[in-house]
């Protein structure tokens, strides 16, 4: 069993929660860019979550989770002292951290959480790190302070202009390039549409862009193939070949379609679990 040591609400809106979980074996090995799969109890799904932070001495892993459906809502309700039944990791290939020169780290929405440890590692590797963090509005902007502490510069964007630059993260990236700063690589993590638009923006510039894919997963060990995505025309299993890929080669439209496969069931899970009729009331 894996104990929740700390719980923190990350934004004004209650939908994004940070949990620090006791998982010493994972904490010993994890590197930026990797993820874990958690299961709350016997009846739960296996939910993949990126590692936001880790403490090798304390033996803890920090995850950030956004309430988007039945299982994530359940995890969001977990309190300090409660337990995950299963917590497996580290999974996936770590980010390729080296000194590229100047790197722009983009986190959109919840994506700020996974980009944080990567930005920090890039900074430690000697890069100049400029971060662009964005959200729909100021109420759901997360980890601004943490990102500021490890970046040379932070650009905040919100869709509605309630904080920082009004617009998308691509506008933030554009503003950096407009200043004439020579950027050597971009990390972009967030919703698939966001990663797609960043990739479309940087492709004509020939600017190396790494994205982190979040397809539907089951085992996370390369056993089921649920997580397949298409990269440069080749099928890859995101859980073992990724989750990071060259953004210029990923078929984002396919990825978006695949993420929508269980929409009807996801609705049923919410309704079915909230009534006491046992079998689920949606049918």
């Amino acid at each position: 069993m894996y104990r929740v040591m700390k719980r923190r609400q990350l934004a004004a809106a209650p939908s994004i929660i940070l949990l620090e979980v006791e998982a010493p074996a994972v904490a010993k090995k994890v590197e930026p860019g990797q993820f874990v799969i958690v299961r709350m109890d016997e009846k739960s799904e296996r939910i993949p979550l990126t590692v936001t932070d880790f403490n090798r001495e304390k033996g803890t892993i920090t995850i950030v989770i956004q309430d988007v459906g039945y299982s994530s809502a359940m995890i969001n309700e977990m309190q300090e002292g409660s337990y995950f039944q299963d917590f497996v990791g580290p999974l996936g290939v770590p980010s390729e951290i080296e000194n590229y020169g100047t790197v722009v780290c983009i986190g959109g929405g919840l994506g700020v959480a996974p980009v944080y440890p990567i930005a920090r590692a890039l900074k430690e590797a000697g890069n100049k790190v400029i971060s662009v963090i964005g959200a729909k509005n100021a109420d759901i902007l997360i980890l601004e302070e943490e990102m500021s502490a490890i970046s040379d510069e932070v650009v905040v964007t919100t869709d509605d202009g309630s904080k920082g630059v009004k617009g998308f993260v691509t506008n933030g990236l554009d503003s950096i390039l407009q200043k004439g700063i020579k950027v050597d690589a971009v990390w972009a993590i967030g919703p698939v549409v966001m990663m797609k638009s960043v990739a479309n923006f940087t492709r004509p510039l020939g600017l190396k862009t790494i994205v982190s894919m979040n397809p539907i997963m089951v085992d996370g060990t390369g056993m089921c193939g649920a997580c397949r995505i298409s990269v440069g025309g080749e099928t890859k299993f995101a859980c073992v070949d990724g989750p990071e890929f060259d953004g210029h080669l990923v078929d984002f439209d396919l990825a978006m379609k695949r993420l929508a496969f269980y929409r009807d069931e996801e609705e049923r899970a919410k309704i079915g679990k909230n009534c006491d009729c046992g079998k689920g009331g949606a049918q």
Binding site: R46, D86, F87, L91
Partner: protein, 462 residues
């Protein structure tokens, strides 16, 4: 006299009923039937049946005990060679193994060895009180990677020999394919879990959620005080056909389809939170046990039409005979001498049809086998909304690629000594599907036992 008594049928759930539930299909012999069936055995002095069993179960001896109604005694005899009789009695391809060699089979019907094995093992699971005499500890520690039949069998024998055994399993439960692949209606998960809790009582420690190659490695285990390591990671990597349309929504690997249903209990969604979605018309590509399991699972999840699409003819279908029969009784349809060429999608990216090509059997080739050749212009569309790819699995590279010095063959399987199962790294042994490629439960179990014997030797000399 024995010849006159016909082989006793296995009582089964009605096909029309069982095609809609996940309860076990075969109901099992009653004690009376078992004793009568055991009475058919001629107790051959030179029992051919044993030669057909990959682990040489003491077949006449255990059957003799059954005929005397000493069922717990029979279980003891069975377990001398077979650590998982409740499983093997259910899933062994008996018609190609023990029963194919039974002397009664020459003129009539063989003794129902598998059914008797299942009966005895179930009887013991329900009525036996497992008693283990704690062996004296040798002080040696062994790590087993993978809790499938090979790893579990190896763990059991090493624990009996007094070694401290720790099993590292990637998934959240132990059992391997027995838990995530083979469906509940063919192998109840309770049976597998009882076998596993027996191992735990013997002192075997099972650590789940441990992906070796990520959280630790073979060399790290050796450096951290394990005196020997066994790798039994199976054949868990799903193959796809590499045809257009394979990434459409509605295309599953059999592994995903079965894992969602069995391991995650998707058939109880939404009580269990993992969804599994099956449409009205399903095509399953392949014709082995995995394909039959997928097809029958699809029916139970509510599909109206389920097709097995297979390039060769019926005679070549590699599934157990019983599974083929059961599938057919339940209403699975066979599209034989038919090969998928591409999967067609709709505007939303979901499967709409499977385009296939018909084949005919050509002249016998050098090996005497008539190989299928495509018929020109025979392309047709099979309207389906779900496709399950069940054409085989390869070795998962997580462990093998992360283990320096481990010799692999061209296909990525571990090279191991056939007698001792030792690999190219001293003290590291391997067995089961990761060595042979996808095979059978009994072969995996046998390899685990073989390795255990050699590891015991190795540890004594160390």
């Amino acid at each position: 006299m024995a010849l006159k008594v016909p082989r006793h049928d296995m009582p089964c759930q009605d096909p029309h009923v069982r095609a809609h539930n996940f309860e076990e299909v075969a109901l099992g012999y009653t004690p009376e039937t078992a004793v009568e069936e055991a009475g058919r055995c001629l107790q051959c002095k030179n029992p051919k049946c044993r030669e057909g069993c990959p682990v040489n179960v003491l077949i006449p001896d255990f059957i003799h005990k059954v005929s005397e109604s000493d069922f717990l005694g029979a279980a003891q005899v069975l377990k001398v060679k077979n650590s998982l009789p409740a499983v093997c009695g259910r899933v062994c391809p008996q018609e190609n193994q023990c029963e194919s060699k039974c002397i009664l089979g020459i003129k009539g019907e063989s003794v129902a060895i598998g059914r008797l094995e299942r009966f005895v093992a179930d009887y013991e699971l329900q009525n036996g009180t497992p008693k283990f005499e704690k062996p004296e500890s040798t002080g040696k520690r062994v790590a087993i990677i993978g809790a499938g039949p090979s790893g579990l069998a190896c763990a059991g024998d090493l624990a009996k020999a007094g070694h401290k055994v720790t099993v590292f399993e990637a998934l959240h439960v132990a059992g391997g394919v027995l838990m995530y692949g083979i469906p509940q209606f063919r192998l109840p998960k309770e049976v597998v879990q009882t076998e596993i809790s027996n191992l735990k009582e013997m002192g075997v420690e099972i650590l789940t959620n441990q992906v070796v190659g990520k959280v630790t490695s073979v060399h790290e285990l050796m450096a951290n005080g394990y005196d020997s390591v066994f790798i039994g990671t199976g054949a868990g990597l799903p193959y796809f056909m590499n045809i257009p349309g394979e990434n459409l929504n509605g295309v599953y690997s059999a592994n995903e389809f079965l894992t969602r249903t069995n391991l995650m209990k998707g058939y109880k969604f939404p009580e269990y939170s993992t969804p599994v979605k099956v449409g009205k018309r399903v095509a399953v590509l392949g014709a082995g046990n995995v394909a039959m399991d997928s097809a029958r699972t699809a029916l139970r999840l509510g599909a109206e039409e389920v097709y097995i699409v297979y390039r060769r003819s019926r005679a070549e279908m590699p599934a157990r005979h019983e599974e083929l029969e059961h599938a057919e009784e339940e209403g699975v349809k066979f599209q034989l001498l038919t090969n998928p060429v591409s999967i067609e999608g709709d505007e939303k990216g979901s499967v709409r049809a499977l385009t296939c090509l018909r084949f005919e059997l050509g002249e016998p080739d050098a090996s005497g086998r008539r190989s299928p050749i495509p018929i020109k212009g025979s392309e047709f569309e099979l309207p389906v909304d779900t496709v399950v790819v069940a054409i085989g699995q390869g070795p998962n590279p997580l462990v093998t690629k992360s283990t320096e010095g481990l010799e692999l063959n061209k296909r990525g399987n571990i090279v191991a000594n056939e007698e001792t199962m030792e690999t190219s790294i001293p003290g590291v042994f391997a067995g089961g599907d990761i060595v042979t490629g996808a095979a059978t439960v009994i072969l995996a179990m046998g390899a685990g036992k073989k390795a255990a014997a050699a590891m015991d030797n190795y540890l004594k000399q160390k």
